[in-house]
Amino acid sequence: MPMGDMPNSLSPAGALPLLILRVLHSEPLHGYAIAQRIHVLSSDVLAVEEGLLYPTLQKMLLKGWVEAKWGISETNRKVRFYRLTPKGKVQLEQELASYGRITHAIQEVLRTA
């Protein structure tokens, strides 16, 4: 499924939904934790504008890829936890597959051309 009105998935900002999907795959997280996780996992290479997380999450909510629930965080704060839906999982797999194909193809071109 194309990402629709989201930016090109090869730029860091465009890859944001994919990254969020991936990060949420292991466990439900709140917004700040998602941002941190992306930072840490990418060794700060993919330092996107953090605030962009929230509009993106709202779009993903509307697409039904994630669902949100208010809960109490580990620091005893009231925060919104985002959780991957089954549809989100399917989406993640598809995106990963096509992403893998594209990067592979690009690498081939870069290596051999």
Binding site: E50, L52, Y54, K59
Partner: protein, 890 residues
């Protein structure tokens, strides 16, 4: 997947709509939480409190923008922007009330005319007939393929019909109907006697249509046979009017032609029978086999009926028509008399009802379509002009970051507002027009079906949107193409932008003028045809003549002597009335319709081949008729008073008959005989020709005494010195004195009677003319607007030219020519286009060629004159400019 999608998103969307504040505060809370955590993180990393806060905020990004972006995903944003644009649109339009008013009025005219015409076309031509499964109902006619009659759709004789019904049982059910009957209704409870239009039908007619009576029952086989008790069904309308909605009407008696009939049923108010031969006004239905004389029910030569059939499932109209046609050919072989027709044809019942209205209605719809297109172009032209004067505003908005789509949308919303307001007014106009039509044309078939319904409403909405798109898009793309800076810099000295916009307006105008020419040519042709029709000489003077029709019921006037006595007394008393200069009796007055013909042969001529004869139109007349109606006796004499009853064997023939059947000889003293019965009549005179229908040329006609020859009905023609109308009441009083139960009908002056038969032509030509005038006015306004705009744009330039010594007369002619260019181009396009289009309305024209050079020339002249007049004012104004004032306008 789609459903699932909506399950997720609809609650979210609804929340977004109704709990916007909650969503906002939730988002804010998330932002706050995020920033606080980041601050904690930064503090832990050793920053100062202030530094930590700023770094955290920086890292989050532009919070208000993010909030906007997030809100944008809540998707009602589009609606909000729309509402906002709508608000702005209303405000801008109300700031220029003059422009708005003109645009709305123009749209209202265009949309109103179209909605009205569409409603009529849909209701009359397309809406199914009010019967069950009407798609399978067809009407079968006889056809004379040798072209003896002008119309190929001929009524049916009963003899043939019974054979058809017998042989097509597997293909269709067939019913016989004769919708052109009439009764004198009289008697009960002191109510006035009246003549009521009526129909005969077979007992299976109503079940075949699927019409059930609202009260009582339909006819059965026991009613529909000779000698059965007399029964009748009445329409709901008649029941309400004559019997005051009597709930116990079923079973009561009613006097028709002085005989008692039992009312067995009342037809539902939705029921109406409207065929090509009329019937919509029929109010009494009686069983045909009880009513019609035995001879009529078995003859093959007298065509008094129509055949209505319901096709069996899987059978097509073509199959049935082919089968009946083959049968009719066999019948013709068995009965070779000339009056028996050699073929049959069929059409659907809906086609039968509305066939005559198709071309005129579609022509009118085409005319209103042109008017709407012209209206749209005019509004587009106005919007383009407006865009020109607002180009700076748009440039500033674009410079401030207004998206191009958003700007275009704003323009579209403005034109949508205009066309919606126009439509609101237009629907009112349409409603008024429809009300008027229903009252003005009760004679039109299916006029009762006209009504504004869902489809018409959908049509209106579509028209609104299309008009808005058309005028809005033209205007939107005429302005601000790309270069913002140019727009900002443009001032009145640099008028190139203004000129390109004027070019667009000129193109629109050219098309507008072209369409106007087509409409004008159409209107001109129809008007000329109507003029021909009105001025066509019916054969007698039409002023100061009153006609009244009556029919003597056979039940009370059994003997000829009784009828003669009535005729004598009536004529004597009417002639004695003060103000009456003469009076006469005739079986059908000029213009009153066909009213019977027969085949004759001339005794003195060599016998014709068997079955052939000379077709004479038949008229019964009294001796004084010819002088009363003003028909000149060219040769011989009129009847004598004693040539009546058994001595009524003398005839006068028309000049046309004399020339056609007695070329080069004197018809007086010759003898005619009917080819089947053998009676012989002596020709005693020749009279002038008259028309039985204004639009048809005179037929060879034969007059014999109305005293005898089987007449029991007639039209009394009263010739007065002045004001024929005023004689109607005195003559009706005389009839009421002679027989209180005898109604009179068709009380009208000869001029009215003729007007009635030209109403179609008058209606079409007046309407198309009205549309053409609207179009002409719109085009003139458009021409004026463009030139005035150009002059305003070029005020400074013109001032400079005048200051430098340009001649005012040269300037005037240059500007005039400039303004007239679109008109001339439009004319060049319009004239050939009209030549192509008018062929389509050929059938509506009477004695007028579609390519009438006078009409085309007049239209071209009129158009140029109007265009000249429209351009003169701005050109004149420009040539009289005071150069100093013009130069100071900047």
């Amino acid at each position: 997947m789609r459903v699932e999608h909506w399950i997720y998103t609809i609650p979210l969307r609804l929340r977004a709509l109704f709990h916007r504040n909650r969503l906002d505060s939730e988002l804010d809370e998330e932002f706050r939480d995020h920033v606080e955590r980041q601050i904690e993180f930064n503090l832990a990393a050793g920053m100062s409190a202030e530094e930590a806060r700023l770094a955290a905020l920086r890292k989050l990004g532009n919070a208000p923008l993010l909030r906007d972006q997030t809100r944008a995903t809540w998707n009602w944003n589009g609606l909000e922007q729309f509402m906002h644009d709508l608000h702005i649109g209303i405000r801008t339009l109300s700031r220029t009330p003059g422009f708005t008013l003109i645009a709305v009025l123009v749209m209202a005219l265009g949309i109103g005319a179209n909605v009205a015409l569409f409603t009529v076309v849909r209701s009359v031509l397309l809406k199914p007939l009010p019967y069950s499964d009407p798609g399978r109902l067809v009407v079968i006619y006889e056809a004379d393929l040798h072209g003896q009659h002008p119309a190929p759709w001929l009524p049916v004789d009963a003899g043939s019909f019974w054979e058809w019904q017998q042989s097509t049982q597997s293909l269709a059910q067939m019913a016989l109907v004769s919708p052109f009957q009439g009764y004198n209704v009289s008697g009960e409870g002191g109510k006035l006697p009246e003549v009521v239009e009526a129909a005969w039908c077979t007992d299976n007619f109503f079940p075949l249509l699927g019409v059930r009576p609202m009260m009582g029952r339909s006819f059965t086989q026991n009613d529909d046979k000779p000698g059965a008790p007399a029964t009748a069904m009445i329409t709901a309308n008649f029941w309400r009017r004559r019997f005051a909605s009597d709930p116990a009407i079923v079973g009561k008696a009613m006097w028709l032609d002085a005989k008692p009939y039992t009312i067995i049923g009342v037809l539902p108010s939705t029921f109406v029978y409207s065929g090509a031969f009329g019937g919509a006004a029929d109010q009494i239905w009686t069983p045909v086999r009880h009513e019609a004389p035995a001879s009529l029910l078995h003859t093959y030569g007298d065509h008094e009926f129509l055949a209505v059939a319901r096709l069996a499932p899987g059978v097509s109209l073509a199959t049935l028509a082919a089968r009946v046609d083959a049968l009719q050919k066999q019948i013709k072989l068995a009965h070779p008399e000339p009056a028996v027709h050699p073929g049959a044809i069929g059409r659907t019942m809906l086609d039968d009802a509305v066939h005559n209205y198709k071309t005129p209605l579609f022509a009118l719809l085409g005319a209103t379509g042109c008017v709407l297109l012209i209206a749209c172009m005019n509004v587009a032209g106005l919007l383009v002009a407006r865009a020109a004067s607002r180009s700076k505003e748009f440039a500033i908005r674009a410079a401030l970051g207004g998206g191009r789509m958003r700007l275009i949308r704003g323009r579209l919303i403005e034109s949508l507002l205009l066309s919606a307001a126009g439509a609101a007014l237009g629907v009112l106009l349409a409603w008024a027009a429809l009300e008027w039509l229903i009252h003005a044309r009760p004679d039109m078939n299916r006029v009762e079906a006209i009504g504004f319904d869902g489809v018409a409403a959908a049509f209106t909405l579509t028209v609104i949107v299309l008009c808005a798109l058309f005028s809005g898009i033209v205007a939107a793309f005429s302005s601000g193409r790309g270069n913002v800076l140019a727009g900002l810099q443009e001032n009145s000295r640099a008028h190139s932008g203004g000129r390109s916009r004027a070019l667009l307006r000129r193109l629109l105008l050219t098309a507008e003028v072209g369409l106007t020419v087509v409409l004008l040519v159409g209107a001109g042709l129809l008007l000329k045809s109507f003029q021909h029709l009105r001025s066509s000489d019916i054969g007698v003077p039409v002023d100061n003549a009153l006609t009244l029709r009556f029919g003597l019921p056979g039940a009370r006037y059994k003997q000829d002597e009784q009828k003669f006595a009535f005729f004598d007394q009536l004529l004597a008393q009417v002639r004695a009335l003060p103000g009456v200069s003469s009076a006469g009796l005739v079986s059908a007055a000029p213009g009153e319709g066909w009213n019977g013909d027969d085949l004759m042969s001339i005794v003195e001529h060599p016998p014709l081949p068997k079955g052939q004869g000379l077709d004479f139109m038949l008229r019964g007349a009294d001796p004084g008729y010819f002088s009363a109606i003003g028909l000149p006796i060219l040769k011989g004499r009129t009847f004598n008073e004693d040539e009546r009853g058994k001595r009524a064997n003398v005839v006068l023939i028309s000049r046309g008959a004399a020339e056609q059947f007695f070329p080069g000889e004197d018809p007086i003293g010759k003898h005619l005989k009917t080819i089947d019965e053998g009676g012989v009549w002596t020709i005693i005179g020749v009279v002038g020709d008259v028309r039985w229908n204004v639009a048809k040329s005179p037929n060879p006609t034969l007059y014999w005494p109305i005293y005898g020859n089987g007449y029991s009905f007639g039209t009394i023609v009263v010739r007065t010195s002045h004001d024929a109308d005023s004689m109607a009441v005195p003559v009706q009083k005389i009839v009421a004195q002679l027989d209180p139960d005898l109604p009179v009908s068709n009380v009208m002056t000869l001029r009215e009677a003729i007007g009635k038969s030209t109403i179609d032509s008058e209606f079409d030509s007046v309407l198309v003319l009205a549309f053409a005038i609207i179009a002409l006015v719109l085009a003139a306004v458009g021409l004026y607007g463009v030139l005035a705009y150009l002059v305003a744009q070029r005020l400074v330039e013109l001032g400079i030219r005048l200051a430098l010594g340009a001649q005012r007369s040269v300037l005037l002619s240059q500007l005039l020519l400039d303004g007239l260019k679109p008109a001339m181009a439009g004319l060049l396009i319009g004239l050939p286009a009209s030549a192509a289009v008018v062929r389509l309305i050929r059938s509506m024209l009477y004695e007028t060629e579609p390519l009438d050079p006078v009409v085309f020339g007049a239209v071209a002249g009129l158009l140029l004159f109007v265009a000249f007049a429209a351009c003169l004012a701005p050109a004149w104004y420009a040539s009289r400019l005071d150069p100093m004032r013009a130069l100071r306008t900047e």
